[in-house]
Symmetry: C2
Subunit: 450 residues, 2 copies
């Protein structure tokens, strides 16, 4: 993570990101960079789906960097002060100390840190020297200052690796008399130094959330970041902020639609790969404009983006349907994934009245694929409930083409047995005509729990 | 409330509305009506300030209707079925019952309801008649059907007044064998009928919130309404919604700016009075564009609105400053209000970590006005804390012209004594340079409680 600039803005979709989350993060990062000159960086908060990987590869785009949690790490606060070798004279260290007001790192020839020369360590050396001198008037200051750094160095200074969470070092630093510390690369070599105030109140990571606003669906340690903006198309389920921030939710089929609208309004022209990515975001989240979440605005955006894509020649498809067919045919199919993967790949967690529950979704070519696997999927769902402490979990297996779903339910099933879906012999439920988790399944379940 | 249409959209600002809340509600109602053909109605959720009353009067605008809470009342579910007189024959009632599937109201000549003829009451009458007849073959149906309604009527049917909250009748209806009820005007005369399903699950009031999003600052019984949109410029402090709704927060100086931007984007031209009202909204919320919440967008909007106002000739001021001076000179002054009014006129409640607290604000011409009244204001604040169960309350007395404030604090003062404001001899605190409750005072206090 060395290469990160000091104050970037990270743009993150939800956990288990789908194409819409990845596309809207990358599209918005492009806009903020081009329009506003911001150092905006799209990140992913989990593994890419097979669909997204295929898409990025097809478009020649690098996957966004993985950001597992929003807790600041030592790379955020380390100062890459140039180190000096242990045999250099003390005055070299002293001039650095007075310039930077921080201890000077001493490294061996292999670049492994040996310790710090600090104001305190120098004072200790000098007072020892002076105490043991019989006649200190005869010793010049120059002699003292030519002592090797090695002798004046504090070798016990704590070292923290770059990738460590700053919050995990807080207790140690609070109990420590020293103020300056060493930061190492993950291979143990020297990277920089840091000071205790940086550890106790590290600068927060600036974060923009796209395609979600619920804390339970967001990057770990969100509370340690500074949330600066939200752009989404889901229900409001967020927590309070301290100050006003731009917070946009609008009822369209995909966040990619909202980002595309902003790009079009900016008058800027994104690279064809970004256009195609946003088009895929709209197509996948609206299930080829067929989901009940689809609005006129999504239709208009698909038309505009398709027009731009066609001009650029980046995609070999004659219309958005052909592109969608190619996209959906890569969809992680029921038949190849492990039960564990099936229930977690596109899992979202929700809270209602102190109850937490999970709704997972998977797209299939044919609902008949489900039959032979119901038992193991049920078991995986039960395990999920236990490991995450969920009241219940539902897997929605959706046939995109025929616009139907089947539900597999685990956990507190008694609670859900009165859902308005027909129970089938294999203990699944028939949800004919239901394809949208957000707009069709979730409201029914929330209404149920209310 | 008889005149309300069945499915209006109400647009409400925060409790204790200021000019920005009233202006943005009225401006947005105008836009939704003109652009989208909606039956949008701006409402106020409390008394108008002296400033707002003066402004509306000057502009020749009616104050928005008062809406005290969002709980549906009987006017929402009453069906104005035409009543019949007690001496009319039963067959008239029966034909109405079969058309409307609801009991037929019988009223006296003074229009006071006497009871309902329902399927059940008719059946009871007929079976009594038939049981007492010696030879019922000789009695024609026509004879039965010419019995007067009075004899077949159920006089014990519960009556509910139009202005009663439907939720307050729920328990009675649950314990009632009858399904049909009478709704009366507030003077006791007949208005209509209603059925038990309407009482048990009344249609929710459609509500748009402007200039606030926190439940504690919103209309009473918000949870009984259907929240359909939020437009605001304060911190996010809302509760979850069941489905996605348009939810816009943006960091500008006033909600009137956001509404004006939408009106300008629509290409429509509002009446001069609405333009002037929105201008006053921006001017008052940004303290004449001097508050730290002011953005370039507010400046642009003031310029645009001022231009339109000048053309229309509705205001006799040469620029926004003159208009602002006129507006602020009406401000409810410290010297005329009761201590109770001073601490509640512009009071907002907040929640943080289960603690509730209140921040009130009042604008003055000169902070010296405060001196002689500190004691009684402190007492009023203490009473406020007790009556509302607040952890603490702060009154921010703001000199708009010199951009300074003085704070009076009550409740758990120990908690607040370390606030970064200078304590003065009269037990107030000096907050020089602080004028914005939202952007300057609230973040400090939230940071403090965190």
């Amino acid at each position: 993570m060395d290469q990160l600039e000091l104050n970037p803005i990270y743009i993150a979709g939800h956990l288990n990101p789908d194409i819409d989350s990845i596309a809207s993060a990358m599209g918005y990062a492009w806009l903020l960079h081009e329009r506003d000159g911001k150092n905006a960086i799209a990140v992913r908060t989990g593994s890419l789906t097979a669909q997204t990987s295929w898409l990025l590869q097809t478009l020649g785009l690098e996957p966004p960097m993985l950001l597992n949690d929003a807790s600041p790490r030592f790379n955020r606060i380390a100062r890459p002060l140039p180190p000096i070798l242990p045999d250099r004279p003390l005055h070299e260290a002293l001039s650095i100390i007075s310039s930077y007001s921080i201890g000077v790192p001493i490294v061996g020839s292999d670049n492994v840190p040996l310790g710090l020369v600090t104001g305190g360590s120098v004072f200790k050396l000098l007072s020892n020297q002076i105490r043991t001198l019989v006649d200190f008037e005869k010793v010049s200051v120059a002699t003292l200052l030519s002592i090797k750094c090695r002798e004046s160095m504090d070798p016990e200074v704590p070292r923290f690796p770059l990738s460590m969470r700053v919050s995990d070092a807080r207790r140690k630093v609070l109990n420590e008399e020293r103020n300056d510390f060493i930061v190492t690369r993950d291979d143990g070599t020297y990277f920089g130094v840091c000071r205790s105030p940086d550890v106790l109140t590290p600068p927060k990571m600036q974060l923009i959330l796209v395609d979600h606003n619920e804390v339970s669906q967001s990057i770990r340690a969100l509370e340690e970041a500074e949330l600066i903006e939200v752009i989404d198309h889901h229900r409001v389920g967020t927590q309070s902020t301290i100050t006003p921030i731009p917070f946009y939710i609008d009822c369209v089929g995909s966040t990619s639609t909202l980002i595309s609208e902003r790009i079009i309004a900016s008058g800027l022209m994104p690279p064809p790969a970004i256009v195609a990515l946003l088009l895929a975001g709209v197509i996948s989240d609206t299930l080829l404009l067929a989901s009940p979440t689809t609005t006129k605005r999504d239709h208009i955006i698909v038309e505009r983006l398709m027009e731009l894509v066609r001009k650029s020649g980046i995609l070999p498809y004659k219309d958005h349907k052909e592109f969608g067919d190619a996209l959906f045919s890569v969809s992680s199919s029921l038949s190849v994934l492990s039960p564990d993967k099936i229930v977690t790949t596109d899992l979202k967690l929700y809270n209602m009245n102190e109850k937490q529950f999970g709704l997972a979704q998977i797209e299939v070519g044919n609902l008949n694929e489900l039959g032979p696997r119901v038992k193991e999927i049920s078991e995986a769902l039960e395990e999920l409930c236990e490991s995450k402490g969920l009241e219940f979990a539902v897997l929605m297996v959706t046939d995109v083409v025929r616009a139907n779903s089947r539900l597999v339910v685990a956990g507190n099933q008694a609670l859900l047995k009165d859902l308005p879906y027909t129970p089938l012999a294999d203990h699944t439920m028939d949800a004919t005509g239901i394809v949208s988790r957000k707009k069709q399944l979730l409201p029914v379940i929330l209404g149920f729990l209310e």
